[in-house]
Amino acid sequence: MRTKRFVSVFAVIALAVGALTLAGCGQSTTSTPGGTPAAFTGAALVGAGATFPGPVYSQWAQSFVKVEPSAQVNYQAIGSGGGVQQFISKTVDFGATDVSLIASETAKVSTPFIQFPTCLGAVVVSYNLPAVTTPLKLDGATIANIFLGKITKWNDPAIAALNSGVTLPATAIQVVHRADGSGTTSIFTKWLKGQSPDWASKVGAGKSVQWPTGQGGNGNAGVAASMKQTAGSIGYLELQYALSSGLPVASVKAPDGQFVVPNVDSVAKAASDLSFPITETTSILDSKVAGAYPISSTTYILIYTDQTDQAKAQTLVDFWTWALTKGQAELGTLNYAPLPDSVAKASVAELAKITVNGTAVTPSAVVK
């Protein structure tokens, strides 16, 4: 009898769960863009690559359907490395990468292509010190020494010298870094490498590095969770994540000696002197522009210029033209920084190089 009752309890639970799941599915199908396949006549684009701009590209893809209902853009955030590989093997319509193509990769690309930035982001140094209410100021050498494990207490003279007037506690510093390979780590370590010869020789830069100290968290969320649970912790997060996490962020010393607070404006300034064409050495780290946040980064799209499918080429040009103009307005809500106007215009000019069997493709009227 009892078993029967348990069976019936299980059945009820199973039904409830099933109903909830179905309800959830129903919602997601109705909210999915392009949910009316019957009306779909345009080209579907497939792109793959960097995880960093993933939220932006999905948002753009959703909004673009309202502009051009026949277009479907499918972006897979598989990582910059995978994006470049798929671009080279021509299995996607566009590739996305956080690091501009290096010479050895460019050599593998057989036909001409364009490379342009789409949006800006930054890596932010965040910390958990309940006793300190004034935002901390840090410079490159100090941050490098903290992450090298050489500075172990918050009241270290090096930190105190940068923050006169702030009473620093004698708490031990607990470093939290990303455990998963990520573009965020790549940008952060690349910047540290330029700041400290010690960092360059002992650790270097990459998507995953041999951290001399600390513990690793999974993704921005994992790092933030570990930081919130540990008083005295320091870590690095993507701009958009740090600003919404509620953790305090440090101002970082720019090359001109000024301390710059990371926000959408200071990151945009860093990109204002970006020049085309994009090459292996293109970088907006440590920008010389006044008021620019030093650990800023951009992310790139790769497209072949010689297209063969008219519908696909038209959608490619339309989508990216729209993203670089009207789409930029949507970046603020996602806490990415929009491109400076001059850079956005130059990127649109790059798109004009796309041709179908030799004929140039002009953007449709709807995206202008």
Binding site: R2, T3, F6, I78, G79, S80, G81, G82, Q85, S104, A172, Q174, A179, D180, G181, S182, G183, V203, G204, A205, G206, K207, S208, V209, Q210, W211, G214, Q215, G216, G217, N218, G222, A225, S226, Q229, T230, A231, G232, S233
Partner: protein, 327 residues
């Protein structure tokens, strides 16, 4: 068979269609099982072959150093597996040591207790625990279990066991949220349902005669369990433990969320560590194709398979030896 041969004619005639059908059924069954078992072996061989192909460059380049080096430096292309092997073995051992007594006790309780009021809900709960996805364990562990353990258990252990001469090295406190102790405990919670469920079934098969005989000789209930039930169920319990160990060794996401993912080897269980599945899951997606990182991760996977096979073989040997000594 002997009966058939003694009265061949009549039975042969009467049962021919049935027996023929049976014989067809037999051959179909044996054919399918052979096919499946060969397929299974082939699958394992294919898996090992692929891993070996991918891992070969790393083994060729680093040789035995791969097993003894503490370096894991994707930037300079230097890779060593020791910290990951250490972390995997320590957390799995910790998990088994804490889960086994609880599971066997729970299995005994579920078998011996007459009251259905206690038994049925407990059985359902244990089975439910087994059905919870590991990522949910990980989330719960990160936001609930880890803060609790770090606030209460770690200081308590440090103040008691940490004061003893040799054990003190195991409980040197660190401020890290994630550590090997937390990972071991979440693993223990995850494998308790598996070990309990299998052990419960094994104990249920112990003949009642044995228990009754022990009781008739004047044994108490505890003595009957210890002398009659547990020895009879021993190989089954070892098998259950192996299943649990298999899950503990291979568990990825929950461990990665709780262990702290710290490089290096520390004697203290309260320091961050790293396991083989965790590093593979963390780094594989963005592993560089130019250097050895990709190959080193596949080599780690091969090492994990080797550890699992070694432990399975060792436990079989242990059972056989203890059975021989017991009889």
């Amino acid at each position: 068979m002997s009966e058939v041969s003694q009265s061949p004619r009549t039975e042969h005639d009467a049962e021919t269609p049935v027996r023929r059908r049976l014989r067809i059924g037999d051959s179909v069954l044996s054919g399918t099982t052979v096919l499946i078992s060969v397929g299974l072996v082939a699958l394992l061989a294919a898996l090992l072959w692929v891993l070996e192909q991918g891992a070969a460059p790393a083994f060729m380049k680093y040789g035995l150093n791969f097993f003894t080096s503490r370096q894991w430096d994707p930037v300079n292309d230097r890779f060593g597996a020791l910290p990951y092997i250490y972390g995997t073995v320590v957390t799995s051992t910790l998990a088994i040591l804490s889960a086994l007594p609880i599971s066997v006790g729970l299995a005994l309780l579920l078998n011996e207790v007459r009251s259905r009021l206690l038994r049925n809900p407990l059985t359902v709960l244990v089975d439910l625990l087994a059905a919870i996805p590991s990522v949910v364990y990980g989330l719960w562990g990160l936001f609930v279990l880890a803060p609790f353990l770090n606030r209460y258990l770690a200081p308590a252990l440090g103040a008691t066991l940490g004061k003893l001469p040799i054990l003190s090295a195991l409980f040197v406190p660190t401020p890290a949220v994630g550590n090997m102790l937390n990972a071991g405990i979440i693993l223990a919670i995850m494998i308790i349902p598996i070990i309990t469920a299998v052990t419960r079934e094994v104990i249920a098969t112990v003949p009642h005669d044995l228990r009754e005989a022990a009781m008739a000789l004047g044994a108490t209930r505890y003595e009957a369990i210890r002398m009659a039930v547990l020895p009879h169920a021993r190989s089954g319990i070892v098998g259950a433990t192996m299943l649990g160990l298999g899950r503990a060794l291979g568990e990825t996401i929950a461990v990665s969320m709780l262990i702290g993912n710290g490089l290096g080897i520390s004697a203290s269980l309260l320091a961050p560590g790293y396991t083989i599945p965790a590093i593979i899951a963390n780094e594989f997606r963005e592993a560089t194709s130019t250097g050895m990182q990709h190959s080193a991760l596949l080599a780690l996977a091969l090492v994990l398979v080797a550890i699992a096979l070694f432990l399975a073989a060792a436990s079989r040997l242990l059972v056989r030896r203890s059975e021989r000594m017991g009889s």
